[in-house]
Symmetry: C2
Subunit: 465 residues, 2 copies
């Protein structure tokens, strides 16, 4: 019997990364590791689901980084189809329910909560009807995939199948691309005025314009009022305040909230977004023996100084590594995020980091905003594609507050320059001096990010006058 | 008559950027601007020459950002075909010689030296023979282009034309690609053991391997001993210590040295590489009225703390902007470089920033080096391409010292992450926490740079034990 037992709740990125790292650092006789997962998959890339649905990725299992069997072979006692139903923290035990409904208590010395997020599903008529699909988990993705295959095989020849995507955020736009690639006529609905509310409205408008150019019907400023069903109770259209949109399939991409009901019931501290609050070692605040990471926590935003909920696989993996190290007696901290995200819809690349205008306002910051249009390569080089770069800088100090980029090939990952600059708390003036890679196939002589920084410097100065 | 006269020596990037910026800030009656250029082109992209030769860029004039006429229309008194032959700094005047050999003195209140660089041309037999081409200036490029067109139109059908490229640095590898694209059988010669001595030898070896895979004959560790000529005195082969390589055309890509003979004769301060030494405002050290920028100066390397000569259009443009501002009474400084460069040969992308192993040794730094292989996108995503990332970190402190990347699509510009991190003097541990853009089409969940940083952290720790 091992000296200590680690219990992990949740078998996706954060949980299994923590388990794997701890396993590498501590031998089985030192640390027993038990992981509970209520579904049947482990360590998969939920971010990859749209690309599997759309046909970029050939097989569902390509999205699985490590199978249950591989985890078990590495010495992790993984229990699938087993849901944790209660945390008894004082008693250092968790209650589980297996596939057959059997309940059981399992004791722990150390506990990792990696319960992920749950998709938003507004309480509208018909929202749970057959034909309405979420894409949060691999189970969801597999159900949608099967439904699409079935729908397509039974579709009357010559009629273009119709899809309605509810929500025009990351998941919504990626799913729109996937459905267009499968031959669907796609309508995207969002109650916000522009798609991608992770961007400022003016940058979101560029995304909208590009999506319309791809043949998508983008209806923003329209709140969904319900899903209409046919005689058999199956979704046949989505209704908004403005009208009805017929649908052979409805996909919900409304974002997610931290899944922290267990933690809440156990009295663990939650932030404003409902995510668990941790210290930099990813230990739940006020607890010595409970860690949490991934989509169920809030993270420190280094730009605003506040905690935020950001569901993103790359953070979940980092959390898992750090938790695994700390649980095993090594040391690691998660410094926080700057809010970087990158996405694409067909050939349009969309990226952001730092604060939006509205977020800066909420913090009471005064800022100037600068938008430039530049090209991804030297203007004379084939494939040079236009991109818009928007930069927010604090007045007076000129500190970089945020960057948003919308463009074509070569646009998205340029956000990394700004992400590092934000982490280092650089001013836009300092950014103008950055020694970025230049050669005609890679960049104009002034990289688009530098062009924006130069303009921002001048705007900060003009504002100060 | 204007209150002051600015004289600019050299009409390419640094000189004309300075002139243009000064022009925008000061009216003609406040500041007269006279620019001397010994050639016939202004403000062109020398970096673009290989892509014009290789056919990526359609027209020579595509490489010209601003023509002489455009400069004149903006109120710059530009004198082409006019070489500055002497600087009389105490007398505040420069002597020029025009196309017809006429000499003349022109007075200045402020002087900008932007005399660029001269290509290395070792004093070997036959090096000046017809058929041997440099590619430093647009004049050189145009001469090579014409020679290739002529050679190809007169070539016997069925015989593959042969080119020898001397030098396997940036210019050499880019010209090799250009010549391959034109249908030449290309031999690349370099006396170094690996191509791209701006990389460590192990990373250079990856470039060599890839170039050989592209059908190039890469002969390294072979010093050129001369160019052999035919009966008419025309280059017919290049000789090395090992053998002879027949050539219909010979291209020299041996790098450059600062062109500072005028400055040297005038007693201005030069660094170890022969480049002018300036203060951060790009004013020549010890002078109140002389500025210098572009390929004729040495710049501060922020990683080593020493000055270096780096001929690169992006630096020249920055220098020009800063000089123009300062000359006009505004303010700007050039903070220095971290040694970033990016290049490609066919589909191979090559990038570096910071110190090489040997440079770190020369500074007396102790370091660990880490190389990882990772992919540009999520492994399951189409187009995910392998890349090698090498990272140097200081022992004990873990400070990032340098990064080198060799890979395919998406590899090169990732060096910008490291360039910003070097500027901010981050440690590799800090880098592991960077919030870089992640989505399957753009990056694996751990960006390759983060993979390298994680491994580097572990190597720094292992070394400390």
């Amino acid at each position: 019997m091992a000296a200590e037992r680690l219990v992990v709740v949740g078998g996706d990125a954060a949980g299994m990364a923590a388990a794997s790292r701890a396993r590498r650092l501590r031998k089985p006789d030192e640390l027993e590791i038990v992981a509970f997962e209520r579904g049947r998959f482990t360590s998969y890339s939920a971010c990859g689901i749209p690309y599997w649905i759309g046909g970029d990725v050939g097989e569902r299992d390509d999205l699985i980084a490590r199978t249950p069997q591989e985890h078990r072979e590495r010495g992790i006692d993984l229990r699938l189809h087993t849901e944790v139903t209660e945390l008894d923290l004082d008693g250092q035990r968790v209650r589980t329910r297996d596939r057959d409904g059997r309940g059981q208590w399992t004791g722990f010395d150390k506990l990792v909560l990696a319960t992920g997020a749950r998709p938003l599903r507004p309480p509208l008529d018909g929202i749970d009807a057959p034909g309405v699909h979420g894409v949060q988990s691999l189970e969801d993705g597999a159900a949608l995939f099967d439904a699409l295959e079935q729908q397509e095989s039974g579709a009357p020849a010559g009629r273009e199948p119709r899809a309605v995507v509810v929500g025009a955020g990351y998941i919504g736009v990626e799913m729109s691309e996937a459905l267009v690639r499968r031959g669907y006529r796609v309508t995207v609905l969002d109650r916000a005025e522009q798609p991608m509310t992770t961007l400022d409205p003016d940058m979101g408008a560029l995304v909208r314009e590009a999506m319309c150019g791809m043949g998508m019907d983008v209806r923003t400023g329209e709140a969904v009022t319900g899903v209409l069903t046919d005689g058999r109770g199956r979704a046949r259209a989505v209704a908004t305040e403005e009208g009805e949109y017929p649908a052979d399939v409805v996909v919900l991409g409304l974002g997610v909230r931290p899944e922290t009901s267990l933690a809440e019931a156990a009295g663990l501290p939650l932030g404003d977004s409902g995510g668990l609050l941790t210290d930099p070692t990813m230990r739940v605040r006020g607890r010595g023996d409970v860690w949490a990471g991934g989509d169920c926590v809030e993270v420190l935003d280094l730009v605003s100084g506040r905690t935020r909920h950001i569901a993103l696989g790359t953070h979940a993996n980092k959390h898992g590594q750090i938790i695994g190290a700390n649980v095993a007696g090594d040391y690691g901290t998660f410094p926080g995020v700057v809010g970087t995200a990158v996405s694409k819809v067909c050939d349009l690349e969309i990226a952001r980091t730092g604060l939006l205008e509205q977020q800066a306002d909420e913090l009471g910051l005064r800022w100037v905003s600068t938008t430039v249009e530049a090209t991804s390569r030297a203007g004379y080089f084939p494939g040079a594609a236009p991109m818009h770069v928007k930069m927010l800088a604090e007045v007076r100090t000129g500190r970089l507050l945020g960057v948003q980029i919308v463009g074509r090939e070569g646009a998205g990952k340029r956000v990394d320059i700004a992400a590092v600059a934000l982490t280092a708390r650089m001013t836009v003036e300092q950014m103008t001096g950055l020694d970025l890679g230049y050669a005609p196939p890679f960049s104009p002589v002034w990289d688009p990010v530098l062009v924006a920084a130069r303009k921002a410097v001048s705007d900060v100065r003009a504002h100060a006058l």
